[in-house]
């Protein structure tokens, strides 16, 4: 193998200009920040390539969402590629399900440093450094969105004298939380004789195999919903004498964080605010910002304040007001989820021969008995049958989700049943 040292960056799932999900705040300011977040992350990626003086960049699909007929995303991508061309960085791109070749494409004359892999068969492109082929980059693009066949089968190493990199958008091991596009198995990848499998599709960073070959998902460059918590970025890879070392580099502008705060020990709203702000200082980032989903949980005095007296809205407004989202280091509460309960002894009520006791028994039974659940579910999900107002925009919750809602319903019911008692206290 040729022993010239070289460096490259492995990125995937940039999803440029595609919107964030599961976000319901109406603030225009924060919407603008989130809309631009994928671009900031992309700039961070380009800056990383330039600062680290890498030889090339490989992108394993989903640069933008073709479904959005996205020109802005493609154009910004083009600008990034121009910058890399000026800095002598080559780019190899495999398209994935979101940016498949069958989808819309803005007519753009790409700079010469960028190579897009075709969709017929895996292509092999040699990479020259100082007049020698130091690496061979293999890749294939999706011809359409719904690729269910195994694309990895056709990847072949032609020469063992060079460092072989495979770039492909695939679901290794058929993960259920991702669409099962171009599925393949880890064992297959291990056997193929490649040195590095640059994968895309899975948004969570994961090293599937640490060495010989390296099989890695860098994850997406910017998280776009609350499920995508934690750091987001790309892999900076360095090859010397055929040995691969890699390092995860963050690119995201905003980070999603789930924050939990119990109200059990708290007596007043001030105490709650203080406790939350204390948590904020711990998660406040140096650069960019944090989008936090704040879960209030536990049984306590404050439950009643929060649910009946509208303190939840005041709290949310207060927490948002004190943040300057235009600057680095903001923590913005995206939503406040109440999972709190009344400070009551449920066990005591359960044993009581009262309507409250019976209510608690019914609630418990609904969670446990399929029959009860189905009964409740039928009447509760009526709303989703209204196609015009609801059904065409959102789908009904899963049973699992509905069960978690049931617990909330239990608290709501309890609160009504015990309202006077609570008012008196």
């Amino acid at each position: 193998m040729v022993d010239i040292k070289f460096k490259f960056v492995h990125a995937a799932d940039l999803h440029l200009d595609s919107p964030f999900y599961g976000f319901s705040a109406e603030s225009e300011k924060i919407q603008k920040i989130l809309r631009d977040a994928t671009f900031v992350a992309f700039d961070n990626l380009i800056n990383l390539c330039i600062e680290e003086d890498v030889d090339f960049l490989v992108i394993a699909g989903d640069i933008y969402d073709e479904a959005n007929n996205n020109i802005r995303g493609q154009y910004k991508f083009y600008e990034g590629m121009k910058r890399l061309e000026q800095n002598g960085v080559k780019v190899f791109v495999s398209h994935g399900n979101h940016d498949h070749l069958g989808g819309y494409r803005a007519t753009i004359k790409w700079p010469e440093n960028v190579h897009f892999f075709s969709c017929e068969k895996p292509q092999e492109i040699p990479f020259y450094k100082n007049g020698t082929v130091v690496a061979s980059i293999h890749g294939v693009s999706y011809p359409k969105r719904d690729v269910r066949e195994n694309l990895v089968c056709d990847f072949k190493v032609t020469s063992q004298d060079t460092y072989n990199i495979a770039v492909v958008h695939t679901n290794v091991g058929g993960r259920s939380d991702y669409e099962n596009y171009a599925p393949c198995k880890k064992e297959e990848l291990l056997k193929k004789g490649f040195d590095y499998w640059a994968l895309g599709h899975v948004h969570k960073h994961e090293i599937i195999n640490p060495a010989k070959p390296v099989i890695a998902y860098p994850g997406n460059t910017q998280a776009r919903n609350i499920k995508e918590t934690g750091s987001k970025g790309v892999l900076l890879v360095e090859v010397e004498d055929g040995n691969t070392s890699y390092e995860f580099k963050e690119t995201q502008y905003v980070t999603w964080i789930e924050l939990k705060q119990s109200i059990t020990e708290l007596q007043s709203g001030e105490e709650l605010i203080e406790a939350i702000l204390k948590k904020f200082t711990k998660i406040r980032p140096q650069k960019g910002g944090v989008i936090a989903r704040l879960y209030l949980e536990g049984r306590g005095e404050l439950h009643y304040e929060l649910t009946k007296k509208g303190f939840d809205k005041v709290l949310l407004e207060l927490l948002r007001e004190q943040e300057e989202v235009e600057r680095d280091g903001f923590v913005w509460v995206e939503s406040l989820i109440l999972q709190t309960g009344l400070r009551i002894d449920k066990a005591k009520y359960l044993q009581e021969a009262s309507i409250v006791g019976d209510f608690l028994q019914v609630a418990g039974k609904t969670l446990q008995s399929e029959e009860f659940f189905e009964k409740i579910k039928k009447s509760a999900l009526q709303i989703y049958e209204d196609v015009n107002k609801v059904g065409r925009y959102i789908s009904p919750p899963s049973d699992e989700e509905l069960k978690s809602w049931l617990q909330e319903a239990e608290e709501v019911g309890l609160q009504y049943l015990l309202e006077d008692e609570l008012d008196a206290t």
Binding site: D17, S18, P19, F20, Y21, G22, F23, S24, A25, E26, Q31, L34, R35, N68, N69, N70, I71, R72, Y75, Y104, R105, A106, T107, A353, S354, I355, D358, F359, Q361, V362, A363, T366, F372, K375, I376, S379, Q382, I383, Y384, D386, N388, K389, V390, Y393, I394, P397, L402, W405, L406, E408, A409, E410, V412, G413, Y416, L417, L418, E419, D420, E421
Partner: protein, 1054 residues
């Protein structure tokens, strides 16, 4: 909450009416039209306002209204005051705090008026008509009694439904609920997104259009360049046309002239200049020949004296030495005088030194530095010895003086010592004395301690003895009442008893009897007291005797101790006596005598000490005296040695003098003068010799000078007579030499001038030859034979030159104009064209260019606008914004739907719970009601229940049979309703302030037994509530009185 008093200001038949109530059962009795129903209405109106009050305007005067005073379970009063006509009311606590009506309502458990009228305050009408109880609200209350709340499940359902409806409701055209609003926004967004998604396709179309446009633009731009080039070509042809015509003209002219290709450049002017040069040179030659001849003549006329020239060196020497010659002459006399003076001075010195001294000896005499130093050395040594001798003598004198002083001090000290020895008392051994004093001191110390101890012991003994005697007397004197006391006490008692008895009974016998019995009693009393006290004191005495024995023991021990101490004291005194006896021959000593001995001993010791100090200083002084004596002896020896040294030095000095032939008697200190004189003599002798030499040398020099002058003048001179003449002669010779030398230099200059004149003449002649040759060469070059033909050729050549210059100028201009084009082609086209053709062509080309430029401008503008549109498409955020918003609204919709679902589920579960509750548990109300019916019917009916899903009541009898209401007699049915009401009242009392229960003759349909039992039920109800019972039946009042047995019952007669 109970009713305490009411005051009716004006209501129906009542005015200014006051009633008081108790906490228990209040029976308001009155015949028909006594105002029972009016009172009932007054109470209802007071609680709930004027609704019912309108029917009862104040008929007997007073304001329409009144006051009721209530008392809550904590004993706090609350006043309700209403004025129905003025629609004023006030709820006020005893402390003056005003409460609102709703606060009051809450306090009493939020009963509605319906509820109050049906459950708390009812007459026969309400009782018999159970519809009122079947009212949704009341039935809800039955179940909510198990709810722990005053709220009904019905209202809870209502509240939840309200929330759900605020979120979503199916159908509805004018629906502006949350979900609908969100759905509308989403629909709008979808529509916008759809249209925005068209833009990308337009982008690609525009891009294609742009590419096409760019290609056309490029073609047109190329064409424009070509055209501009062609126009430039024709414009330059037109510009060069004039030049082209001139070129052709000059070409023709040149062809018509003879071809003279070469002609010397500037030939004519060169010829002219050569000719003028020729003339100049010829003139010069003439001038130079005449000047040469003149120089030759001047040379011949010069005459020079050769003798003077030959002796030139001698004459110059004489001139130089003339001053010296005269100086020598003058100096000679002075030298001779100096010489004589020196000779006479020398003679004097020799005479002074002595007859033995002549010039020769003087010359030989040694007065060198070495000799002087040696003599100085001798002098110093003599002086040194003398000084040492003097120093030593003075030291010896001092020492002898000190020796005598020491001697005197020794004698003084010896005398002092003798005097001290005589003053000693005991003359004993000092060590022995010291030891004795020490032992005496020790003994005195011991004695003092023993004496102190003795004193303490004696003191102790004194105290102890005193204590002992006190105790002893205590013990011995112990006795209580003496016989006298006993008797007098007995008598005292007797008297006290007997006198009043005697006085009261007026009977002596009684008095006596009383007296004796008094004596007996008194004696007995005293004896008993004495016995008690004696027992106590006996115990004390025993303790005191023990203590006494203890003190006695201590006294004994102390006495022995004292005796021992006294013996010790005697032993010490004996020892002291013995010690004193060592120095004084006496047997007995008093303390003072011993002290005296001790003091004398101490004095002796101090005298001994002083003697030993004097001894020390004496031995020291004697040592010093011996040292001094030794030192004096040593110094005297040293003086002897110095004397010897002085003598030997004098011997050496005399030897030194004789060795230098100097008189013996001379002392080193006188030698200085002799040496000085010899040195002077020697200097004079030297001066004399040098003067002699100088005189001879100067005479010789004068003679030589005179000889030389003679040689040159040929005359003889005598010195010093002819000295002045010699000077004159020498000056003459010098003048002559100067003159001759000038002539010689003039001749040399002329000769050089002659030579240079000759050379310059020759040069001019060469020049002439050269010029002539140049002229010939010029002709040859011009191809001419003579000057005439030369000039003709020159004219032709000049013309040709002019033509070709013009030709070249025009050609150059044309070339400049045609720059950028191929010149050959250019010329070809010119030769083939004429002016009109060219102009026409140019006009045509300009037309074409204008058309092209217009098209280009249009297309460029179009391109610009396309690019702008494309750029704005690339940076357009609208689609992203809408997509984002769509997600947000979807999330909002999810949240709203969730809220709806959660509430729907809560509602559903509450309903399920209610069903379960109704099914599985009869409400407490029914249970309580069952208890009441059982009581009232004496167990005939056991249970009231409400079947699941039906809002009706059923009754179960003691045989387990279920009866519907319709099957019951009126009385039993009323009893059932009554039971239900009591049960509800009881339930309410659990959660809020209990209200008074007011019944208006509700028992009229009950038989006597059931009335009695109902009264018992009322008694039961009193546990929680106050009861007001209105009736016009005396038997009912009686039954109540029987059942209550006057307890907690209050009858008010209206």
């Amino acid at each position: 909450m109970q009713l305490k008093n009411i005051f009716i200001d004006g209501f129906g038949i009542f005015s200014n009416k006051k009633l008081d109530f108790i906490a228990g059962l209040n029976i308001v009795f009155g015949n028909n039209e006594a105002g029972k129903t009016t009172l009932l209405s007054f109470l209802r109106s007071m609680f709930f306002g004027k609704k019912g009050a309108e029917k009862y305007p104040p008929l007997s005067g007073g304001n329409h209204g009144g006051i009721i005073i209530m008392e809550d379970s904590r004993g706090e009063e609350i006043k309700i005051e209403r004025d129905f006509s003025a629609r004023r009311y006030i709820f006020q606590k005893a402390n003056g705090t005003v409460v609102t009506e709703s606060e009051f309502s809450k306090m009493i458990g939020n009963p509605t008026e319906t509820l109050f009228n049906n459950v708390f305050c009812f007459g026969l009408d309400e009782l018999a008509d159970f519809k009122t109880l079947c009212d949704e609200e009341v039935s809800g209350r039955i179940y909510s009694a198990g709810l722990g709340s005053t709220k009904s499940l019905v209202s809870i359902n209502g509240e939840i439904e309200k929330i759900m409806e605020s979120i979503y409701k199916k159908g509805g055209r004018k629906d502006d609920r949350e979900v609908k609003r969100i759905a509308n926004t989403l629909q709008e967004l979808e529509f916008k997104i759809k249209s925005l998604k068209e833009i990308p396709h337009k982008y690609n179309e525009l891009k294609a259009e742009l590419a096409e446009l760019e290609e056309q633009l490029q073609n047109d731009e190329e064409k424009q360049v070509e055209l501009k080039k062609e126009i430039a070509f024709y414009e330059s042809l037109l510009k060069g046309w004039e030049h082209w015509l001139k070129i052709r003209e000059y070409e023709e002219k040149l062809n018509s002239l003879e071809k003279i290709e070469n002609f010397p450049p500037n030939g004519l002017s060169i010829l002219e200049s050569l000719k003028s040069q020729l003339k100049e040179v010829e003139l010069e030659i003439e001038v130079k020949e005449s000047s040469f001849r003149q120089i030759a003549r001047d040379l011949e006329s010069l005459a020079i004296d050769n003798f003077i020239l030959e002796n030139r060196t001698d004459i110059e020497n004489l001139k130089d030495n003339l001053a010296l010659f005269n100086e020598n002459r003058q100096h000679m006399e002075q030298l001779k005088r100096e010489f004589e003076t020196t000779c006479s001075k020398l003679k004097d010195i020799l005479h002074n030194l002595g007859s033995t001294w002549d010039e020769k000896k003087l010359q030989r005499a040694d007065v060198s530095l070495q000799t002087t130093a040696e003599i100085e050395n001798y002098r110093k040594r003599f002086e040194d010895i003398g000084w040492q001798k003097r120093t030593l003598q003075s030291t010896i004198y001092d020492l002898k003086k000190e020796k005598n002083e020491l001697h005197e001090e020794i004698q003084k000290k010896t005398a002092e010592k003798d005097k001290l020895i005589k003053s000693l008392v005991f003359k004993g051994n000092p060590e022995e004395i010291k030891d004795t004093i020490y032992r005496m001191e020790n003994l005195f110390e011991s004695k003092k301690l023993v004496q102190l101890k003795n004193e303490n012991l004696e003191q102790n003994l004194k105290i102890l003895r005193k204590q002992f005697s006190e105790y002893e007397s205590d013990v011995n004197n112990f006795k209580f009442f003496g016989k006298g006391v006993k008797i007098s006490t007995a008598l005292l008692f007797a008297t006290i008893f007997s006198i009043p008895i005697y006085l009261l009974s007026n009977n002596v016998f009684y008095g006596i009897l009383a007296f004796f019995s008094g004596v007996l009693f008194g004696t007995a009393t005293v004896l008993i007291i004495e016995k008690i006290i004696t027992n106590q004191f006996r115990k004390d005495k025993k303790e005191k005797l023990v203590r006494l024995a203890e003190i006695k023991d201590i006294i004994y021990t102390n006495e022995i101790e004292l005796e021992k101490s006294n013996k010790e004291l005697a032993a010490i005194d004996e020892k002291l006596g013995k010690l004193a006896g060592l120095f004084f021959q006496k047997k007995e000593f008093s303390d003072e005598e011993i002290y005296e001995v001790k003091r004398k001993l101490e004095k002796d010791i101090s005298t001994e000490t002083r003697i030993s100090i004097i001894d020390d200083s004496l031995s020291h002084l004697e040592k010093r005296l011996t040292t001094k004596k030794r030192e004096i002896k040593e110094l005297e020896e040293k003086i002897e040695l110095l004397k010897k040294e002085s003598y030997s030095l004098m011997q050496k000095w005399q030897d030194y003098l004789s060795a230098r032939g100097l008189p013996d008697e001379l002392l080193p200190e006188n030698m200085g003068n002799v040496i000085e004189a010899v040195k002077k003599g020697k200097d004079l002798l030297e001066d004399k010799n040098s003067l002699e030499k100088e005189i001879a040398s100067r005479e010789n020099s004068i003679k030589k000078y005179a000889c030389k002058v003679s040689e040159l003048t040929g005359r003889e001179y005598k010195i010093p007579e002819d000295a002045e003449q010699i000077t004159t002669e020498v000056r003459n010779l010098q003048d002559k030499l100067l003159e001759t030398t000038e002539l010689v230099s003039k001749k040399e200059q002329l000769l050089a001038k002659k030579q240079s004149a000759w050379q310059s003449l020759e040069k001019e002649k060469e020049k002439l030859k050269k010029i002539n040759k140049e002229i010939r060469d010029l002709f040859i070059l011009a191809g001419a034979e003579n000057e005439e033909s030369f000039l003709q050729r020159f004219e032709i050549y000049k013309k040709r030159q002019l033509f070709s210059d013009n030709l070249a100028t025009h050609t150059a201009n044309l070339k400049a104009i045609s720059q950028g084009f191929e010149f050959k082609l250019y010329k070809k086209i010119l030769s083939e064209s004429n002016l009109t053709i060219l102009k026409d062509k140019l006009e045509k080309l300009h037309g074409e260019l204008r058309g092209l430029a217009k098209r280009l401008a249009e297309n460029r503008e179009l391109k610009g606008s396309i690019i702008t549109r494309l750029e704005s498409m690339c940076n357009d955020e609208k689609l992203a914004e809408c997509l984002f918003k769509r997600n947000i609204y979807q999330e909002k919709l999810k949240n709203a739907a969730k809220k709806w679902v959660v509430h729907a589920m809560a509602k559903e579960m509450i309903n399920l719970a209610k069903e379960k509750y109704e099914r599985e548990r009869q409400p407490a109300v029914l249970k309580n009601a069952s208890r009441y019916i059982k009581l009232i019917t004496d167990g005939k009916y056991q249970k009231i229940f409400s079947p699941y899903g039906e809002h009706v009541l059923r009754l179960e009898n003691n045989r387990g049979k279920t009866c519907e209401l319709s099957q019951l007699s009126r009385g039993t049915a009323e009893q059932l309703y009554m039971s239900m009401r009591y049960a509800l009242v009881e339930e309410f009392a659990k959660r809020a302030e209990s209200l008074p229960v007011i019944m208006d003759d509700t028992f009229v349909n009950f038989d006597e037994i059931r009335i009695k039992r109902t009264a018992q039920a009322v008694h039961e109800l009193l546990k929680t509530n106050q009861v007001l019972f209105f009736t016009c039946h005396r038997h009912i009042v009686k039954i109540f009185k029987d059942v209550f047995q006057q307890e907690r019952i209050h009858v008010i007669n209206l």
